[in-house]
Symmetry: C2
Subunit: 501 residues, 2 copies
């Protein structure tokens, strides 16, 4: 083997893996958007085979030898090749630690459990989903044991989703948030509530679809490479590379704002992914580097831009054009207030910015307790409802609007939720940096995200997965992460909307 040859093989290996991921992700995406209802077993059959092939490819003798050779000769590699080697070696080492049959069995379980969760949610039937969720928690605990025997299992998964994250970090971050947000909510409840009537009425799906494309275009998404589909639970995914990106939304015909903010949120993910350099396509450097950074982008576009008064001024004329009857008598300020109405509620994805992180904390506390063996899966619904009462003061009427509302657990993601809150907090600090050189408000008001996208591209997107999230973060911030930016941002908004001093 020569270094030259090994570099070639490195690219070839990644192109091969990308093709398998393309296939597997597409099979899931199809299941979430298009497939007939009773075809989950058929997808599971194919995914089981493909997972096995990926496992064999990733851990095969040839691959291991190649990567060991590259690692031994890393001085001769570019920075990018070094990082590819590092990431691939981590993958291999991880894969080698999990027995193949267990890994493949788990992939099959996830396909089924997602299907069962959909039905369980539909019927608000936690018992239906319980055995799957038990198996998922159990497996992720076991896998964490294989992968990092010396580490606490939940700490392991938190750190997997966001480099550097742990229970300790979360506990202190959430405690700080809670100590400021809870009093803020109390103060709001003493003020007169704002109206969100503008959101509600009759908004036919095909017109909302037109709005989606209008928004996507004005966000600067390249519609030749970014598609939009409908699904039950909005998400974003790349197929094979960032050159084929898909966002999804869910239309509610009585409330246009629900899909509108999903589109801006998922559009933010898509901007980040598709902002990777073209040369990163089909490599492990392609797309976003971590969930926290990803959410920092999606929630930046959704909230900091999308829920600003400036953006309301931009989008309102389009709403008037599409829904002339429903918008009659309203103005951009009404929209601004409506989409920033602070009100403790049941559904995370529909929550306002202020109460949002309380929803995340409920999930965090439950995951932490189950992973520590302090809470049984069968007791999740009761604990969930208790925490919603405690943190948000609301009564959960059923599990559909309670612990069955999110898809994450059914897909095996334990430890993901904190990155939503963390991402929001990163975003607020990014905003402060961005404002040093960009007229963010002016951009939002004109609906011209060009300069904002340029800043994000320059500071974040162009690096793909080249740097560890911690390093990227300190590069962007030119300093330490500080949740104070986020808290101040929320307090400012409440001052603006509710006149709280």
């Amino acid at each position: 083997m020569t270094v030259e040859k090994a570099r070639e093989e490195l690219m070839k290996l990644q192109r091969k893996q990308a093709a398998y991921y393309h296939a597997m992700v597409l099979i899931s995406y199809d299941g979430d958007t298009t497939a007939p209802k009773e075809t989950a077993a058929n997808r599971a059959a194919s995914l089981t085979v493909l997972s096995e092939e990926v496992y064999i490819l990733g851990t095969g003798k040839e691959t291991v030898e190649l990567l060991e050779y590259l690692d031994a000769n890393k001085d001769e590699l570019t920075e990018e090749e070094q990082r590819m080697t590092e990431l691939l070696i981590k993958d291999i080492r991880d894969m080698q630690k999990i027995p193949m049959e267990e890994w493949i069995e788990f992939q099959g379980l996830l396909v089924e459990s997602q299907d069962v969760w959909h039905r369980a949610k539909e019927h608000s039937d936690f018992e239906m989903f319980r055995p799957y969720l038990e198996k998922i928690f159990e497996t992720q605990k076991k896998f964490a044991g294989y992968l990092a025997p010396d580490k606490d299992p939940y700490d392991y998964w938190l750190n997997e989703f966001e480099d550097g994250l742990s229970k300790e970090v979360c506990d202190s971050f959430f405690a700080k948030l809670r100590s400021r947000i809870v009093p803020l909510i109390a103060k709001i409840q003493e003020k007169e509530q704002v109206s969100d009537e503008i959101r509600f009425g009759y908004f036919p799906e095909y017109k909302q679809q037109e709005l989606s494309y209008y928004i996507m275009e004005h966000m600067g998404l390249d519609l030749g490479h970014v598609g939009l589909s409908t699904t039950e639970h909005p998400f974003t995914t790349s197929l094979g590379s960032h050159l084929d990106e898909r966002i999804t939304t869910h239309y509610q015909e009585n409330d246009f704002a629900s899909s509108m903010y999903s589109v801006i949120h998922e559009g933010g993910h898509a901007l980040y992914d598709t902002g990777s350099p073209e040369k990163y396509a089909y490599t492990v450097l392609d797309g976003g580097v971590s969930m926290g950074i990803h959410e920092s982008q999606s929630r930046f576009y959704e909230n900091i831009l999308g829920r600003s008064l400036a953006y309301s001024k931009f989008i309102f004329p389009k709403l008037e054009e599409l829904f002339p009857e429903e918008m009659k008598g309203y103005c951009p300020e009404d929209l601004y207030r409506a989409v920033n109405k602070v009100e403790p509620s049941l559904i995370r994805t529909e929550a306002d910015e202020v109460t949002y992180s309380l929803h995340v904390m409920v999930r965090y506390e439950i995951e932490k307790a189950v992973m520590a063996g302090e809470l049984e899966v069968k007791d999740i619904p009761a604990r969930w409802n208790e925490l919603y009462k405690e943190y948000l003061g609301v009564d959960v009427p059923d599990d559909r609007q309670g612990c069955l509302q999110d898809s994450h657990w059914s897909g095996g993601a334990i430890g993901y939720f904190p990155s939503y809150a963390l991402g929001s907090a990163y975003g607020a600090q990014f905003l402060a940096k961005m404002k040093e050189t960009v007229d963010v408000n002016g951009c939002a008001e004109r609906g011209d995200f060009g300069p904002i996208n340029l800043w994000n591209r320059e500071h974040i997107w162009q690096y793909g997965c080249l740097y560890k999230p911690g390093k990227l973060l300190s590069m962007v911030l030119e300093g330490e992460f500080d949740p104070e930016y986020y808290i101040s941002y929320l307090e400012n908004k409440c001052r603006d909307i509710y006149g709280i001093e």
Copy 2:
């Protein structure tokens, strides 16, 4: 190796192949239905890799040894296992004859060429598509040379799509058809033309969609396993197995009949595929056995049932319910006449039953001439237009409505078209057999296809690919194929619609 172990491995091999086909077919299906416009290169990248993997799996030492072992011990296998072995060995022998790089390159070319063809058609720009089509004809000629050096290349491909088919068979079949259809058309042109006004008006897509599902349900399709999407050029495909089947349609808001008959046609394909026994899922015995038999089913449902007076009576009340304004003043007989109006025209998929096979003959003559080196690809448009004038008496205004109208060539299918005409002819003879025991007319009028589906299942669907098409055909017909049934069927219909004696 023991026979028991080999049988297990045989099933495992097929499950693996099925997963790859699932992935590859889904990537193409996604391209045809959902993917953003500029993502063809991304699909090509993944398909190239997956084709290579399939090639390696199919021709690898392990596979070859397994199949040779099974072949040597075939007396101990069931009839089904014998047929699986036979089909897989044919695949391997074929694959081994084509150099891997050439095969893989061709798969990549096909993805691109389908994309280019779409755009070429949109702009009616044959020159754009020409280099791809040249390469496709050239490759299929070369591949036929590898696969059957002693055989005429076009004969080879005709026989691949339909067992037993050749230029000789086609020439005699088409000559017979032409000798009876051309005078029939001449007679019709002396009669008063029927009105097809009922088809035209304004039929919103979402209402046509409702019609599609109504039709699918009443055809007896299991909507839990059969999905519907929209595309430019309707087709049907299985994903991994017949347990996940997809049909597609294309809505024209000014003409409901266009999509309606696409849905019935594609629904016929889907009935055939999903009629395979469940145990055939993930094996080479799954789904329809040949293009001719497949078209016999799709065109049976579309034409023999769908364009009958009885079916018009069944579907008309639904049309009235969905489109009350547009249906005002019409009756089922108007629909029957409209969808059986005989009129030489430009577009094959929109053609009436009588002129349809003339469209097929144009394509057959062109393929035959190009494969024989008697016609250059660059001269296809001129020849196409000449033949349309000669066979159908129509002037082709542009290539979009001429030689660029069909997707088949861009997907590499040379020799497919004759199976449409052949399938129609099979169907007419099946009808005669079916009528011996089934009240076909009564079923169509009630919109209850149960007894018809049962007959087809019993005689055709349940066998999947177990028998060669020739054998299956003679089992169904209990005798020889005779195009006279088809010709009489067409003559009868013209008698009914136009009063021709």
